[in-house]
Symmetry: C2
Subunit: 245 residues, 2 copies
């Protein structure tokens, strides 16, 4: 499984992804699930992915090939983020149709995937989309400023409580790492390291994702402080007389 | 959906269940998902249920009918909790086989259910089981002192952090209510009131579940304290310099 988050905040965008991939419990590996397309001056597009790894890798490979072969429509040439996301959705449909069409009947494999695609093209504000396996997509708004894909439930309560459109990026990073910590503690199919990328609105300079491994000093400090703080908070909650509640 | 928890602690057992049932988003109702079988002096058995409501109601009705009709094997006559849980599992199998066998082909309905069954029969320690739709079951031990069924993921992180076999019952009640609060905040298919029952080891006196509605003073105080405390704790966590993490 996988856990990825994308946020659309007033200051910009945030993307985070874990890096564990498993097929059953035997085949566990580390794969980067965050992919960046940028030209260093006018656009930055980020894709994080969950679902069938063969599908998502093929989608990314195809999108990269379109750029190399200077296809008439590619991520670095299309005029708006809406056009880019439409192109990504079309590629998802093509890959799933191709792979599922070649299967022997009765082989029940789930080829689906789920992507968060966001970024900014100069002249537009930052935008964030959730692309489904069907290739269609929804866009984040100020009312619902974040998307999650993969193992979303463990880490959702803290996002629900903290994240609003106006949350500063630095606070959103902190909250995202706490959300990943809760997920990783409760589900072995989600694992470190965490790839994280922050896009400040209007900043198009080249930028790579930052990787938080288990030994990262800030992540360690944050996890310890959160764990100790939760125990303290729990202890400080009013007690109940269970004989007469 | 549903959210239920059962715990096997050194002091005794704890059961909790929400009371929202939905089929799609139109048919939402309140149903008690906790059922007690007790004779007031020598045994107490509690069942909480998730899954197809027709299945779980039929299972409970059948178990109650066995008692009324003085079937040779019923919950109030069987000599051990293991025998009782075997009987419950058999009843689950019978109901699902009966209901699914009568369906027109192509009607894809999920008849499955998932039960937590626990209690104590005088002469034995308290025991706790998770019964699957197949009628087989697993038993809780000190290493894994709780079971969850239904919408389990939102409320799992806090249980993972707090609950151990030695946790006092009053603390376990507090933790269970926090776990339900997180689930109810993030998922509309789980709703108040919460039914909760504590079985102190060796206490066989008649005992009914306690109901926590939205206006319950302790539950309100706990939810407010938890929400305010989480915000405070989050604010107190070390901040990150996102330009140089």
């Amino acid at each position: 499984m996988t856990y990825c988050v994308g946020m659309l905040l007033q200051e910009g965008l945030l993307f985070a992804s874990d890096s564990r991939t498993n097929a059953g419990v035997d085949h566990i590996s580390t794969f980067r699930k965050m992919h960046i397309f940028q030209d260093g001056h006018d656009r930055r597009v980020v894709i994080v992915s969950a679902g069938n790894l063969a599908t998502t890798q093929s989608v990314i490979s195809q999108l990269q090939k379109d750029i190399r072969q200077e296809h008439e429509e590619h991520i670095l040439s299309l005029p708006s983020l809406y056009d880019i996301v439409s192109r990504v959705g079309k590629t998802v449909r093509e890959v799933i149709t191709r792979d599922s069409g070649q299967q022997a009947e009765g082989l029940a494999v789930d080829f689906s995937c789920n992507l968060i695609v966001g970024g900014q093209v100069r002249g537009e504000p930052p935008r964030l989309f959730n692309v489904y396996a069907q290739g269609n997509f929804i866009e984040a708004t100020a009312d619902t400023p974040y998307f999650q894909i993969g193992e979303i439930k463990y880490g959702k309560p803290i996002l629900d409580r903290i994240i609003r459109a106006g949350t500063p990026l630095a606070q959103a990073v902190k909250c995202t790492l706490v959300s990943f910590d809760s997920t990783i503690k409760s589900n072995i199919s989600v694992g470190l390291p965490i790839d994280l990328l922050v896009h400040r609105s209007g900043d198009f300079g080249p930028h790579e994702p930052y990787r938080f491994g288990g030994e990262h000093p800030y992540l360690r400090e944050l996890r310890n402080a959160w764990s100790a703080g939760l125990h303290q908070l729990f202890d400080s909650l009013p007690d109940i007389d269970i004989e007469a509640p």
